[in-house]
């Protein structure tokens, strides 16, 4: 098992580095000159050339990537210019390991940007995750147990309605009606726990997390319903009944254990995918998270930030994959890794 985890983590790291290379290749292949975006209104060819050199965009993509990878392990400095460092050390930004690059547009190390934006996205993802897991799995179980009744149809049908609408529609709908028109909830704005305490933090998360949860809830209701129904047909449930167990124990110990294992897999992967930022939800609610930052970076040709966020998101997805696989061996005794 330990050897398996080590192997998976090593493979994951290789994958992350490969993804950074792919992102850079795409970026370098673009016909737009990224240095132009760092140069401002009073740009002269000399200044442009100087910026391009400072950013490393004059190098071939592979050596840019090698520099970047080295920075992750040993740190780096921006711009990398020994002559400048001697003459004007105050213009050199230090970027200690793990260095994810330096954003010329915002004049900050990428890592600082990510550290600032990640809690926003992570809060949103986790809050939404908790909402859709409780509601989705719970309603899915209820629908399965009441299969074919009005309750079942109402649950599955209404979930489908939310699933059918685009995220921005649901988000704006909730925003306009619940917050602005009816004033049932305060207008959402992100407040970190450090700034406003847990209360304000949760208040700010309510609507965006609800929007995100509503998008995911339908899938979870249907999955849970299907898996519970499948589990209910298993022979081992008849055994449990024949033993004389009470129906509550049959449901919670025997039915759900079998039914919810596959849900855990899907849930882990979905959460991993969301931790790296949500683009539309953050946009609708004006949340300054990773998703929004990534869009900004991509549209302003800020390569270091784009690569940094891609890597963070990829790390979450890959980690979630490993965690889910390991978790599976813990949940299901039949699964063994070697």
């Amino acid at each position: 098992m330990f050897a398996y985890i080590v192997r998976r983590v090593a493979a994951g790291m290789v994958m992350i580095l490969a993804m950074s290379l792919v992102t850079m290749v795409l970026f370098f292949a673009s016909p737009v000159d990224p240095a132009r975006y760092t140069c401002g209104k009073n740009c002269t060819p000399e200044l442009l050339e100087q910026n391009r050199k400072a950013l490393g965009y004059d190098q071939p993509v592979l050596s840019y990537w090698v520099d970047f990878t080295k920075g992750i392990f040993v740190g780096s400095e921006f711009p990398k210019d020994p002559a400048l460092k001697k003459s004007a050390p105050e213009t050199i930004a230090d970027c200690p390991a793990p260095c994810l690059g330096y954003s010329p547009q915002s004049s900050r190390p990428v890592r600082d940007i990510i550290v600032e934006k990640l809690p926003v996205s992570a809060s949103l993802a986790i809050a939404a995750f908790i909402m859709w897991m409780i509601a989705g799995v719970g309603l899915g179980i209820v629908a399965a147990l009441r299969k074919g009744t009005l309750v079942d149809r109402a649950i599955v049908g209404s979930a489908l309605v939310f699933y059918a609408f685009p995220t921005f529609f649901i988000g704006l709908g909730l925003y306009v009606f619940l917050a602005l028109k009816w004033g049932i909830v305060p207008v959402p704005a992100y407040t970190s726990i450090a700034d406003g305490g847990v209360g304000l933090w949760l208040q700010g998360l309510l609507l965006p997390a609800l929007t995100l949860a509503l998008v995911y809830i339908a899938g979870y209701i249907r999955l849970t319903r299907a898996f519970v129904l499948e589990a209910k047909g298993e022979d081992y449930l008849r055994t449990a009944q024949a033993k004389g167990l009470k129906s509550g124990r049959i449901l919670f110990k025997h039915t759900l254990r079998g039914a919810l294992t596959p849900i855990a897999t899907v849930a882990g992967l979905d959460l991993g995918g969301l931790l790296g930022g949500t683009i539309i939800t953050e946009q609708v609610f004006n949340y300054d998270g990773l998703g929004r930052t990534a869009v900004m970076a991509a549209t302003t040709y800020d390569l270091p930030v784009t690569v940094g966020i891609v890597l963070v998101a990829a790390t979450f997805v890959i980690t979630a994959n490993i965690v889910v696989d390991v978790l599976y061996a813990v949940i299901d005794p039949r699964v063994k890794y070697s």
Partner: protein, 350 residues
């Protein structure tokens, strides 16, 4: 044994089933899975219920366990167990009896055991639910003892293993340990050897017989294989299309079978005393529809001895006379049936 069941009201049997009917409403019509079944089973006795798929044998066992409750199935008649009608009990009263007084052994132990829990966990659970006051360690000790009794080697270690770590035969032994852990008075074994290797089948049947002697439980063994019940059963009931077609002692069923369907079962059974080149004779045709069964005798479309003109096999429904000592649901007169068996069915050595 005297008559198939005693006259009205005098039954002192452990289990006395009277006119049991189980029907399922479906879109195509009402499925009569079990249609008027009557039998008795005394304490310590073994009843073999034999029939092909769809004959209603498994549905009967599930009706006795009350496993149809909460489904759309309708169960009528009466199932007397120690003087109480199981069909009239409250759900909670019946639940308490399940596993404690009546236990069940299923066909495929791999799917009947929960893959995520250890064998010990599942058997301890079966014991603890009916012995709430017993401590965990005492229950565990009892289960280890039980595993030993069903012939599982090294039970202290095996108790903490998962079903997938057991072989097929060992799994069925564990299943038997789970069924017998509360010393039930009635054990229903639904095709207990069908999923097992032939070499293991006899071991499992021997084990069941030994444990039955030790614990004095009654057993209903459900099978499609007459060979399985040949040695084990005191009584045999042959079912066809949801109805009993022949009932009697094991000897009667083997050595003086009188129903053409039973003959068919006997002839489709491989036998060591037959000529090697002689082919097994399958019963022609398909099992009857349970929604609209054939008119008259349900077996007549497949019967080689039918005689519509003189006996009316396709119009008259034959009776199963439960007051007979060897009831047979057939219109052919008894002397003629005996003659056919003696001349055509019985093999020289039997």
């Amino acid at each position: 044994m005297s008559t198939w069941v005693p006259t009205e009201g005098t039954s002192e049997a452990l289990l006395s089933v009277r006119d049991l009917k189980v029907t399922f409403p479906t879109e195509d019509g009402l499925v009569k899975a079990v249609d008027g079944l009557t039998f008795d089973l005394n304490a310590g006795e073994t009843l073999g219920i034999v029939g092909e798929s769809g004959s209603g044998k498994s549905v009967t066992s599930q009706a006795i366990m009350g496993l149809h409750r909460g489904t759309r199935a309708k169960v009528e008649g009466s199932i007397g167990f120690e003087g109480r009608d199981l069909l009239k009990l409250e759900d909670e009263e019946l639940r308490v009896m399940r596993g404690r007084d009546i236990a069940m052994i299923f066909q495929d132990p791999l799917s009947a055991l929960h893959p995520y829990y250890t064998v010990g966990n599942q058997i301890v659970e079966a014991y603890k639910i009916h012995h709430g006051k017993t401590s965990k360690s005492a229950a565990r000790a009892h289960v280890i003892d039980m595993l030993e009794r069903v012939g599982i080697p090294n039970p202290q270690k095996r108790i903490d293993q998962y079903p997938h770590e057991f072989s097929g035969g060992m799994r069925q032994r564990a299943m038997i340990a789970m069924a017998l852990v509360n010393n039930p008075r009635l054990v229903i074994a639904d095709e207990p050897t069908t999923a097992l290797d032939v070499t293991v089948q006899a071991q499992i049947l021997d084990l069941l017989m030994d444990l039955q002697k030790e614990m004095n439980s009654a057993i209903i063994i459900i099978t499609h294989d007459l060979g399985v019940v040949a040695e084990m059963a005191d009584k045999i009931m042959v079912m066809y299309g949801g109805k009993a077609v022949e009932g009697g002692t094991a000897d009667q069923t083997f050595y003086s079978a009188e129903h053409p369907y039973t003959w068919g079962l006997l002839q489709s059974m491989p036998r060591i005393d037959r000529e090697r080149l002689e082919r097994l004779q399958p019963i022609p045709g398909n099992p009857p529809s349970l929604i609209s069964p054939p008119s008259g005798c349900a077996f007549h479309p497949r019967c080689a001895y039918r005689d519509d003109e003189n006996l009316g096999c396709s119009t008259i429904v034959p009776e199963f006379d439960v007051q007979d000592w060897h009831p047979v649901r057939c219109l052919i007169p008894a002397p003629k049936r005996k003659a056919i068996f003696d001349t055509e069915i019985r093999t020289p050595s039997s």
